[in-house]
Symmetry: C2
Subunit: 181 residues, 2 copies
């Protein structure tokens, strides 16, 4: 199963793609989509939409995990973030990929053990867990963490039945309960 993580942002949208093979999760690709600065808002949002469509076309993920937003700092920044999310989610809708939303706190807790982990801790753990040669940029690390978090939960569910199987399955269900549809 190929999983795409997306961390939406109007200036920088992180993405990361991992693949789950049996009980193992492997890194495939990551990066940051940066709309051209100084371009019109509609052009910047079109950029996010088309770049994500191109990425989905190339990587063919079965699931896209998008960072869920509970509350933004203020209505102005919420509109700006919402617009980026809208362009990206419309692209995911066009591709018919299954969309799951996971809160940053959940991903942080799953990856670092703490829901209050900072950007640096996330970068460190994502680099270690995916055995990367270089530390990814923060936005890409957050996106990889989202993908990894979902893929790992699935990987645990794939393991042969052990004493902890049911707990693992429950953990996955909790995460999956965050999906959009």
């Amino acid at each position: 199963m190929r999983v795409l993580g997306v961390d939406p942002g109007s200036n920088a949208t992180g993405f990361g793609v991992v693949v789950r093979e049996g009980g193992h999760v492997r890194h495939l690709r990551h990066g940051v989509l940066r709309p051209p600065t100084g371009a019109a808002l509609s052009d910047r949002l079109h950029f996010l939409h088309t770049e994500l469509s191109t990425l989905i076309e190339a990587e063919k993920p079965e699931v896209a995990v998008v960072e869920r937003v509970f509350i933004a700092a203020n209505p102005r920044s919420a509109i700006v973030l919402g617009q980026a999310r809208g362009a990206l989610l419309a692209s995911l809708g066009a591709s018919r990929v299954r969309v799951v939303e996971i809160a940053a706190r959940e991903a942080k807790k799953a990856i670092t053990g703490s829901g209050a982990a900072d950007k640096g801790q996330m970068q460190l753990m994502v680099t270690r867990l995916l055995k990367l040669d270089e530390t990814p940029p923060t936005d890409a690390a957050d996106a990889l963490a989202l993908a990894l978090c979902f893929a790992q939960a699935g990987a645990l569910a794939d393991l042969p039945i052990r004493g902890r199987r049911r707990n693992n399955r429950r953990a996955m269900t909790e995460i999956v309960a965050g999906r959009t549809r």
Copy 2:
């Protein structure tokens, strides 16, 4: 000049198309885009994106006037509105149509004479000014008002030079100053 007005909303996005011919503005079409209720968020945003793309393809507007948002009631509704705007603006970006943003207050003042006009007053004035047989739904009336507001300012600028020409031109400049790029 063909002008498309768009009043973004996650459940109902109004649109209206008018054409300016010399000093006259004529109604062409209006309606409301309603994403399927109960569908996934990504599917609903994809619906807005593709429906607007289809509309642009059919009507070929040279300018799209989108309601500008200053502040939303709260961050949660700002995210929801922002997402709809993002999907719609990405579609406008894809079509390369020029995008202008006009605040609801400006449109209300231009159409009814009062920036605090209610929905009913806007419907009434839009129906009268565009000589419509039936009153359009509120979302479509707001979208038509945006298109009309911009087209009328342009129509005034097209008039032969009169005593009030310079004032008219200034009024248009003020409105056009609200554009995105």
